[in-house]
Symmetry: D2
């Protein structure tokens, strides 16, 4: 049994980690830490969890853990990761701290990076592309929701040299903003649909570009710190009046597009052995991934304009956060990759 601690257990990603890991046969949860709820029972934060276990402080939670999930705000992981690694604990960080080269992080997040020396030790935790690096990983940078959807939508095109004139138009449910987000009151969100941080101003932009640049340079199985070939795109996210779900609608306009059938062949081959990637003719819907670790992908060739349109849907709290983190955990510890992870969602 691996002893696991979750730091940030009173946030949405934390709640999903608890939900998934309490069913994991190889895990013993030894600490659920929350700064805001330490000492209170789980049900104080989570109406769905009857467990009487109390939240603890981070220090108490970390004491016994073999592996630590950090579901904390950006800027927290970089402070404690050096100590955790030194003590021999393995870390899966759901925040952005180790996803980007520190200068890029600092430029886009407006925060100084306090442990840049550990960036070279971080493995980028997008399992579908970095599978082979994970068994040895001590520190995993778990990618976020938009980035996972956009990268998996476009990686086969990038690998094939078809990633021209990329536009990523994306839409997200409200939980992506976290539990304490301002401006997410029901009365102002319901019956509303709106763009936000569009056109090169959202922090996920450089991470999508970095991921695709790696695939463009290295192909199917990439290494976090390997070669990359530059690639720039337009990213425009929108907010949808729903709780969960991300759908990316991505556009590529290569000089000579393949046929739609060839494109499906490319995608099916690329993801042939991936348990969580579902490539179908049917167009994806976010609700079809609700509660599951699935990424659902379809594509169309617009015959009139020669443009490729790729759709990818996922649950932002599962494949976009906690589920992906457990998928990384399974790879790190030699469990079957699907352990404790659903490949089917909940409907309706």
């Amino acid at each position: 049994m691996i002893k696991v601690a979750i730091i940030g257990a009173s946030g949405y990603a934390g709640a999903e980690l608890i939900r998934i890991l309490r069913r994991h046969p190889g895990v013993q949860l030894v600490g659920l830490a929350s700064r805001t709820h330490a000492g209170q029972p789980l049900s104080a934060a989570w109406p769905h969890l009857p467990d009487p276990t109390p939240f603890t402080s981070p220090d108490a939670a970390l004491a016994e853990a073999d592996t630590v999930f950090l579901a904390t705000p950006n800027g927290y992981a970089m402070q404690i990761v050096p100590t955790l690694l030194e003590r021999g604990q393995r870390v899966i960080d759901l925040s952005a701290d180790y996803r980007l080269p520190p200068p890029v992080f600092e430029a886009w997040y407006g925060l100084p990076h306090t442990s840049p020396e550990h960036y070279p030790n971080a493995t980028y935790g997008l399992v579908e592309l970095h599978r082979h690096e994970l068994p040895e990983a001590r520190l995993v940078a778990n990618p976020g929701c938009y980035v996972t959807a956009a990268t998996l939508a476009l990686a086969p095109l990038a690998a094939e040299g078809l990633a021209h004139h990329l536009i990523v138009n994306a839409a997200s449910g409200v939980s992506g903003a976290g539990r304490d987000a301002a401006g997410t009151s029901f009365a102002e969100i319901n019956e509303d649909y709106k763009p936000y941080k569009p056109a090169g101003t959202h922090r996920h932009t450089p991470e999508i570009e970095l991921n695709l640049a790696r695939v463009q340079a290295q192909g199917r199985h990439v290494r976090t710190h390997g070669e990359r070939r530059d690639l720039t795109l337009t990213f425009v996210p929108h907010l949808v009046p729903m709780t969960r779900g991300i759908l990316v609608t991505a556009y590529a306009t290569p000089p000579t597009p393949p046929t739609e059938a060839e494109l499906y062949e490319l995608y099916r081959a690329f993801y042939a052995h991936e348990p969580f990637v579902r490539v179908t003719e049917a167009l994806p819907r976010t609700k079809g991934t609700w509660g599951a670790n699935t990424v659902w992908i379809a594509l169309r060739l617009d015959a009139r304009t020669g443009r490729i349109v790729v759709f990818a849907a996922l649950d932002n709290l599962v494949k976009g956060a906690a589920g992906q983190a457990v998928q990384n955990f399974n790879r790190m510890h030699g469990f079957d990759e699907t352990t404790a992870l659903d490949t089917a969602g909940v409907w309706p």
Copy 2:
């Protein structure tokens, strides 16, 4: 391994049965029948289920099964149950066909009952009250969503002789009406809240009364065909703009009410060993039961009027349908009652 068939697998309760039973370690799904989707893959009806298994006809599904779940419209079970029982198959019927004495069924459902002789063989499948009858049951009448919530909310009062002047004010999400319900279009449901079939006109009224009349006569553990002491109540359901969830707000006005503390003691004792009943000071919310087999109960004594108010929340497709059916299945076949059933929901 018990070989299981689901008839009505393209309805909502059917989908939930598939979702739950595919994780059940003692079950082999040998047939998923749908009149409307026979021959098509599961994903044709269910975007969340990637399985390539096709739906079959009912006959094909029934051929090999040891136990059959009927998630079919009212009036169907009564036609095939005689044959199934004769062949030695055990049946869990999620429809209303065997829940009520046939004359009461006929009066409230406006359908002639074609196999009334099997009603005495039916066990009423509300596990919390009928636990001891289930191991021998060949035919289980699985209660519906409103009835489960209302009965469990009021059973302790009925057992204690406190069920005076009962009013059951209830609210349900839209999925309770099933997949093909008219008048459930998003544009006419969202931003709406409304009563329907109020004040003695909803079919669930006599079933709630029958259940409580049994408890009033027999106490904690009742028998389906045992004594009952009459009891009449007012039932008013409402439709809420949400997909899942039932909340019952029940009012009782006994001549001499106990204190709130005494009432909590009564409820805690009554449900002390029930894995799926959660009695708390905190008021229940339907979302806290989302996807789980939980019934969440709280109560208040209105000190100014001496009236008892009891709240009970559940997920109408789980504890109010498929989850309860699997709970019955577990009792019938000697599995632990919680096998394959979550005691925690999904949040947010």
Copy 3:
């Protein structure tokens, strides 16, 4: 033209007052005050209002006004009303400050009342019952949303001596909690239905009782400070995942109930000349009152229990707040009561 100021113009009731009054042919809006948005354009608070008019401070807004709408938190009106009345300005107060006798207010709201001497000068602004007092009113206490719905649902029964064993089970959309309410984030409200402040703990309880006690004593047209005959009831509110709307489901159990037809006759006569009260056989739905000043009422006699069930729906921001305030304004200033007020809502 009446010069009108709105204090609290950046709250939801304020927004509705602006929306309604900008179409009022007898009104000149001379000041829109907001503590939080003073100096900013309307569109900074209200995406739906293109007007470039800026919000001002309360003092600036009050300078020129003949009539002042106070859409402010409880406890604010009691501080400035003495000055406003002294300067000869008329006031319509949407808060609770002058709705209840000051000792009752203090007991239920936990606030000391700083101008109790003005309570005898306040007219209770439920037009359907207090129509004849309004033309002379200098200070109107505009009732809230639950109270308006519950009072109009039950007033005919109270007038007829049928208001026995009253229970008011109510449900509200989220905007009733105001713009800054904690705990109203979309992710925690959508797909949830829950009770709150039940069974004699919600502040609106004594106000409903007071209103019905007056009608019970005085009949059809009551006076704010006239006789009243005591009456106690159980009030249980719930939160619905929708933005607007209140539906009250009220239960009365008189010793000898009339027939349903007699009850309809009673209600139709009682509200015969009311432009905003709609009594129908069809059951009300909150969406049918969306954006309108309508109260939609229906009733049923539960023949099996002899219990009367009355339903009343309204838009909590219109008839439950701003629309009712303008209705009061129209009565005070001799305008037709429906001026600027819709009698039809928006659908879907």
Copy 4:
């Protein structure tokens, strides 16, 4: 007073026409026709409309009318328009029948056109571009929701020669599919976001292209049957879990883009005198147009890619259907263009 008939008064666009026209001081509603509800009161179809007026048959409704609004399914108008024009009645057709050259209509709608000889008599009713043609119009083809939003979002770019590599990514509320649409049940729409008819398969594609081709050729004020310069684009619509609202996110990649400030100058000049077009720095939200005839436009230049992103929001049932039809009516009959039309929506 203009005598007006509405054919299709029991559909959503019909309901909005009634809501708007009942406040129009120059209109007398002489007939509200519905095939499905003829003889029933308005409230049978519309819970929000208390009016006792009954629906009639189309023939009865047409008898007295000066001007006829056709809010009918595609294929109906083409059958009765010849007769109506012959009788001297003026027609505003909300369906697609006269929006496109008949051969284009037939190719995209799969219906034979039975009165193609009247297409040259039709005026395209997008007031912002066709203002000068409308006073003489006898037959107006009222554009639909996606087309209105996309055309107004991109017309200034087309006029300026900047409409290169166009992509129109759009999202719509559910009411756009009409009242009887299959697959719009609440349980399958709530918590879902999905694309449909993407990439050159949606019928609105050629209409957007035609509109922009005219502006590209003719500039600011175009003529329905004037010159046009070809233009092809990719159109991908999505369904949002909300009732009303359209948001278009349009992408253009001209060889040499202007600055963002120059683009705002272009848009502000283009729409300087339009009462219903609102150009702001603030990003549009559909909810900000709820119930109003507004089109809300903003734009961004993605400095990293040189791509222009334009956003346009509107209420699909108002500016996207009934409101635009009344705007056309006002132009045809010499009323002020804003008569009976709100320039502010409802919030929250």
